[in-house]
Each structure stands twice: as structure tokens, then as C-alpha cells.
Symmetry: C2
Subunit: 336 residues, 2 copies
DNA sequence: CTGTTAGCGCATTCAT
DNA sequence: ATGAATGCGCTAACAG
């Protein structure tokens, strides 16, 4: 019923190995032969059976995406990008949600590997910085690419200069006259926490503002932590006139708390975030933030991984550009 | 290096067929033999190679999720649920984003099937109602389960009584004194559009309100269509005092437009949506909406599909309960 | 540049 | 209740 490689070979009048060569883009096939094979395959609607390919080729033609991220938007964008890269390379994707905070997450990855034999993994934060996991992967000799890893000068994958981005954004807000700019940090396990905090401090310094440690409060990249952080900051005797939430969720928490208090944004308080999630455009006022091209980063990381697997082009760590999105939540410092 | 079935057989002193029987829970194995095999497998850390299993067994141990949905939150929740069901059944999941609006989407599914041979598919709206696709699936004899299909009395999967839910919610808002309640509909291709519109009309009728066709405007389940719809409704000579956005994105668009006009919610305008997305809690004021347990629906649909594949328990269409979430965007009708 | 010959690791007859 | 033989559809050496 379903066409097999030998049917295509027969139809094209060649051997099955030649068909295999065509489909795997191997060299040593005459253009004319290739066309014959492709035509036959099209007519028969031939699709290689991936199980047979995997079994014979000792490769799964599969990569896995590991994630432990509370932000569905982020994960979906990364998935889209990874899928785009996979499709091009005729690779499949398996997903693995990991509960990073639980014991046994390394073992969960081991099971995944034993069962599906992915040819490589794509890691998202904070798994990118999980020492035990990375160590085990190297022991097992499993390739991986990272997205936004803390150590962004090693390995392969995609990163963005979050530190510079936040510094630029902070300096921009300072240029609007703000001198007391608060920051609600990200979760301790993320490299992003470190980069964004450092960028915030860079931005202040560049603007000739001395950092006030009181204005930096703990957060964890969540909406709730944005509310809690905003409360602490706004309850101060000398509250900040601008607040940087370590990501958009956090910043939206700040917007929420400001609205709950009847504080107008940006007239009374400026707010900015990071990520450029869809929500940042859909709140009122819309949120000033840093655009992080997550889909593109997923695509690039998967692409680098697939390059490494195929052994073509030397794979590397690609730095993607950021972009400030100045919208309506930032404005001049209030007078008085 | 990696243990194979024959290694286990040798270690246990049995034939490979016996090992196969144990791993596939087939009958005709003495308890004593079973234990021996299991012990040997554990020692050798044996994991069946899924490619070989698929190839020999003509089953992929894989199901595919097809989606074409602009809402990342929704898709992620469904994915989580489906993954949960898969894990339990030792099944893998492949994803297939479909561009429903483009020609050739049926062929894209055919390619997926030819290549990965999934043992079944899970469909999300609006693919659940795509005639040509469904017809082709039946022709190819591919099983599928649906989530929120338009025809929810046939096939297997999960549904929710959206019509009753919206009727309840609409009646609740009417009970707050509102008499002019507007509705921004969903996209034409979705069954949800029909159910929710019908529920809205039911709710009005139940509250003794005559429906005004002018108060129903076209939308498409997007934030932008919420803004556009709100503009049309609020620009009317006798504007509604409450607006039902066909989903939360749409309702958030209404909130946005209201804020842009300086209209206070719920003092001047009540707004409600559908889905209970995270955003509905994170906007100000928080959105009254209907909770749809998407994760659970994904789990159930996958579960039913896996049941059908295994041939156990007769699979069916499961109706899951809804829940009204009354938050801060709905309130008494303004006086005067 | 192309074809031939062996398996990949397992499930599946059919014996016993 | 268990085992031996056959092949799933393809890739991987090696020949030509």
C-alpha cells in the first residue's frame, strides 16, 4: 500500500542505494539520475519511514527540547523556532518539560535519552546552567545547544546581550529625568537575573547615577513577584519614579499594583520590562521593554545543533541583536 | 555498549521472545520467568529501542498533536495535558503546527503520517471542524481525538459545554442590571464562535432581554479585533453597558480600548471573556471569564485516543465541567 | 558515479 | 509456556 524505497528504485530504474543517496543529499549522484529518482518518489508519494531510517542509521533523526519555564509564550516561541529548523533538516522534535526544582530531573533526562536516543538536545534557561545536568550530558556524550545560557562564551546555541540591552534601556529612562530607578530582579537560578541586574547597574553608572541598594528587591520572573516587589518599592519613604521589572511578567505585576493604588503610568510612575511578550502590547498602558527574538533564538540554536550533528559548518554560539521597544509605560519624571 | 534484547535473554537464560513477552505484558509467561527477566533487564539497564520496536511492530508508539491556534497559552496547556497522558502510556508526542488558511494543509498532514506513522492524532480547533482534513483521515484510516469540536456528539475526545457556560455568565451579568450587553464574536472557522454566540443569546433570553443584532459585531478571537469591536460598540448612540469578548484576548482588547478612552471598568463598562488565560488575572481590572480546563482537556483527549489505540475501555467523547470566574471587570450597571 | 550484501533490534509467525 | 526462524525498511560498508 505505502511506497517503499525499493518501489521508488524500481520505478526510477536504479538501485535502492541511489534512492537513499538522493534522499540523504549524499554526493555522487548525477543530476539526471537525481531528477529521475525525485520524479518517481513524487509519483509514488514516497516518504522514508523514520523508524527504519533510525534503526539502520543508528541515529534517531530526532532532537529534544528541554524546558522548565513558567512562561508559555516563551516556550511556544522557542518551539516554533526549533520546529522550523527541524523541518528543514528533516528532523523530528520531542519535548521534555523538566521540573528543575525537583530531585531526579537528571534521571528524567537520562530516561528520555535511553528511550528516544535524540541526536541532540536544545536547552532553555535555567536548565542551561544546571551543573549536574550538563555534566551528565557530557559524560553520556550527548550534544546540546543552549539558549541564553549563563556562560555564553562556550558551547553552541544562541544568546542575546541582555546586559547591554538593559543598560541601554535604563540609560534611556534616566535620560527622561529619572534618578531613582528601582529594579525587581529575576529568579536566582537564571543567568538572566545576573545579566539584567548588571545591565541595570551599568545603565545607572553610565547616566551618572549612584546605585541605591535599597532600590533593588528580589523577584522571580513572575507576575506575583512584580506585585510584591512594587509594594515594597512604592511603600518606601522616598519611592522610585521608575521601576524595571526583570521580565514582562514582573513589569505587568508592577502595572497592576500601580493601577490598584490609583497611580497613573507613566505620569506618576514609569515601568519597563524585558522580553516583549504579547502581553506587553496588550496591557494599558503598553509596556516599554526589550525585544528578545525568542523564536529566532530557538531556530538558531536548533540550527547550530543540527549543524554539529551533521558535521558541516562548524557550529558556534550566535549572538542575536536586541531592540528597545519604547511604548507608553515610560515617560518623563514627574515634576516636584 | 547498550544492552539489547538478546543480552537480556542471555542473562536471564531465556529466549528473546520471552523477554519480548515480558516487556509487552503478553500472557503465557510464568511468574518466575518474568521475575528473572525483569531482574536481568534492570541489571543491564535495558531500554527497548523504539525505532526497532516501531519497525518490527508496525506501530510508532507515537501520537501527533495538530494545532493552528494563535494563542500560545492555549496550545501550551493542551501540550502539557497530552504529554501527561503520553508519558503514562509510554507514548511519544510529535507536534504539527498547521497553517489552516493555506492550501496544502491536508497534504502536510499526509506527509506527517507517512513519515512518522503516528498511531493517532489529537486535533484542536479549528482543525477539528475541517471537512477535507477529517475526510482524508478517515480515508487513510487514521484515528483521531478532538478537543472542542463543533460536532461534539460524535467521535472521541473532550468537550466543554461552552454554550451553557456563556449563557450562565451572560445571565449573571444581566442580573447585575445590565440590559444592553454587546458581543464581539469569534472567528468564523471555529465552532466556539457558534457555541458562544448561541450561549450569549440564551443568556439574554433567560434574562428576559430581547437581543439587539446591532450589539453583535464580528471579531476573530484576537486582541486587535477586541479593540476594533469595542470601538464600534462604544461609538454607538446607545452603547452597551457590558461587553462579552468571545475569548480573553478579545476581552482584553476591550479593556484596552476602554482605558484608552478613560472609561472606567467596571464603573462605566463591564467586560467579560472566555478561557481564563493567565492574562485574565494579570490585567487591571482582572477579567471575569469562564474557566476552560485546557490542560485537562488535552489529557483526556489523548487518554481517549490511547484507549482507542490499545483497544481497551471503549473510548468516548468526554464532557468536562466549566466554571465561572467572576473577578473585577464586571459590576453593577451604571446609574442614569 | 552506481549497485550488492549485510545487518540495525525487535515483533511475529509457527513450532515445540 | 517457550523458542527458532523470518523480515520490517532502511543505511552502511564495500565492490564495481
Amino acid at each position: 500500500m505505502r511506497a517503499r524505497i525499493e518501489d521508488v528504485a524500481a520505478a526510477a530504474g536504479v538501485s535502492i542505494k541511489t534512492v537513499s543517496r538522493v534522499f540523504n543529499r549524499e554526493p555522487n549522484v548525477r543530476e539526471e539520475t537525481r531528477l529521475k529518482v525525485e520524479e518517481a518518489a513524487r509519483q509514488l508519494k514516497y516518504r522514508p519511514n523514520s523508524s527504519a531510517r533510525s534503526l539502520a542509521g543508528r541515529r534517531s533523526y530526532l532532537i529534544s527540547l528541554l524546558y522548565d519555564n513558567p512562561s508559555p509564550n516563551y516556550v511556544m516561541e522557542v518551539i516554533e523556532g526549533v520546529l522550523a529548523a527541524c523541518e528543514q533538516a528533516h528532523y523530528g522534535l520531542t519535548l521534555r518539560p523538566i521540573d528543575f526544582s525537583r530531585r531526579g530531573h537528571v534521571e528524567s533526562v537520562e530516561t528520555l535519552i535511553a528511550q528516544y536516543r535524540p541526536d541532540g538536545l536544545v536547552l532553555t534557561p535555567p536548565l542551561t546552567d544546571d551543573g549536574p545536568l550538563l555534566r551528565r550530558l557530557r559524560e553520556m556524550d550527548v550534544r546540546y545547544a543552549t539558549i541564553s545560557a549563563k556562560r555564553d562564551n562556550a558551547g553552541i546555541g544562541a544568546t542575546l546581550d541582555e546586559r547591554a540591552a538593559v543598560a541601554d534601556m535604563t540609560a534611556h529612562v534616566a535620560s527622561l529625568g529619572h534618578r531613582r530607578i528601582g529594579h525587581i530582579t529575576g529568579h536566582r537560578s537564571h543567568g538572566a537575573r545576573v545579566w539584567r541586574l548588571a545591565g541595570y547597574l551599568d545603565g545607572l553608572r553610565r547616566s551618572g547615577i549612584e546605585a541605591d541598594p535599597e532600590l533593588v528587591v528580589e523577584g522571580e520572573f513572575s507576575f506575583e513577584s512584580g506585585i510584591a516587589g512594587a509594594r515594597r518599592l512604592l511603600d518606601m519613604d522616598d519611592p522610585p519614579t521608575a521601576i524595571f521589572g526583570a521580565n514582562d511578567d514582573t513589569a505587568c505585576g508592577v502595572l497592576y499594583e500601580a493601577a490598584a493604588r490609583g497611580l497613573k503610568v507613566p505620569e506618576h510612575l514609569s515601568v519597563f520590562g524585558f522580553d516583549d511578550t504579547p502581553m506587553s502590547r496588550q496591557v494599558w498602558p503598553s509596556l516599554s521593554t526589550v525585544r528578545q527574538p525568542s523564536r529566532e533564538m530557538g531556530r538558531i540554536a536548533a540550527q547550530q545543533l543540527l549543524n554539529a550533528i551533521a558535521g558541516h559548518d562548524p557550529a558556534r554560539m550566535v549572538r542575536v541583536p536586541y531592540q528597545l521597544q519604547i511604548r507608553h509605560s515610560t515617560g518623563p519624571v514627574p515634576q516636584g
